[in-house]
Symmetry: C2
Subunit: 204 residues, 2 copies
């Protein structure tokens, strides 16, 4: 298809598509003349990814580039690449000072209680620390019992997610990034609606 059809299919202005081409975020089309090129479904899929990252996921073009580079070159250690890709998603957390003896005490204790690996380099550890500290600070600390209950349900949910990881490395990075960022609001909305459903059965 021509660039105008590609832009229309992706729901983007032609100027935006040209910008992504110039920036190297979108691969070039096949030249059909000195001034024209043709585009296919790989371009459309890429534009959908860029649009999701810079739209609902909330990344800047530069932040999206970090993730697109990992999609393009997943390398040999897919586990490390997936971790880096997820760490590039919001919320951005400041890394702990290198000399802090125990930078994330709440998160460390929680992961020990859950029997999960504690690795302070992983961005979600800092995120968990902030969240647990805020709950405690409001006089609503997460009890050990609640932590175990939540942890069990979320581990099952995560096992479902990983059970559907595509085999192809580039697709695996895309799935992990979008499945993390775009499914989070779905999960939060479903939790609130489940509250309503349980409350309706018990209270009304």
């Amino acid at each position: 298809m021509r660039i105008s059809a590609l832009a229309a299919a992706a729901g983007l202005p032609v100027a935006t598509v040209k910008f992504y081409l110039r920036e190297g975020l979108l691969h070039a089309g096949a030249a059909t003349s000195a001034t024209q090129a043709t585009y296919d479904d790989t371009h459309l899929r890429r534009l959908r990814l860029i649009r999701a990252l810079t739209g609902p996921v909330g990344l800047s073009v530069q932040q999206a580039r970090t993730i697109l580079d990992l999609v393009d070159e997943p390398g040999d250690d897919l586990y490390a690449t997936l971790g880096r890709a997820v760490s590039a998603l919001p919320p951005q957390t400041a890394p702990a000072p290198a000399d802090a003896p125990d930078p994330y005490p709440h998160a460390r204790a929680a992961l020990e209680a859950l029997g999960q690996v504690y690795d302070p380099r992983f961005a979600a550890v800092a995120q968990l620390e902030t969240a647990l500290a805020a709950a405690e600070d409001a006089g609503m600390p997460i009890s050990r019992d609640r932590l175990i209950a939540y942890g069990r349900q979320l581990h099952a949910l995560a096992a479902y997610d990983l059970g559907h990881l595509p085999d192809e490395p580039r697709a695996a990075v895309e799935y992990t990034v979008l499945g993390t960022a775009l499914y989070e609001p779905v999960i939060l909305a479903l939790r609130r609606l489940a509250h309503q459903d349980v409350a309706a059965r018990r209270m009304s």
Copy 2:
């Protein structure tokens, strides 16, 4: 305790505590002289709630007042009050036009598949619609199978939450508001860490 001790215990400047008193968000202390009053744990607890609502929860003082009013006067229909309180939390969603025949088609279909009540007046329905549409738009629609899997886990999680609802109505509103808003970041961080845990066992 004196106002200075109260402010220190709540981690707030005295001027902020005085502002909340003037605005009626914080109840007056017991007067001990024409210019002094004494405060107790009910004041400290209230300040912790206000601080959580205007801090990590991210509400303006006016938005926090809506929730504080529901805490103060939960009324006779606690189920409706809890729904109103949760609807006052972020993310703010625009109400559907009154004449829209089917404003939330994705959310309606999802809740039907889950066997849950679909009530378009509930704010989390609009939130679910936006989230499901964004996933579809990115080429990653939530499959029926995934929806059922997520729905089952989140229903169990919500049943735990409701199982710990305090009996006293004011405490129930506080618990519902803070347990919704402050535990959401905990849940998202735990999901990301569960991904890492499952992936580490399978891939590395």
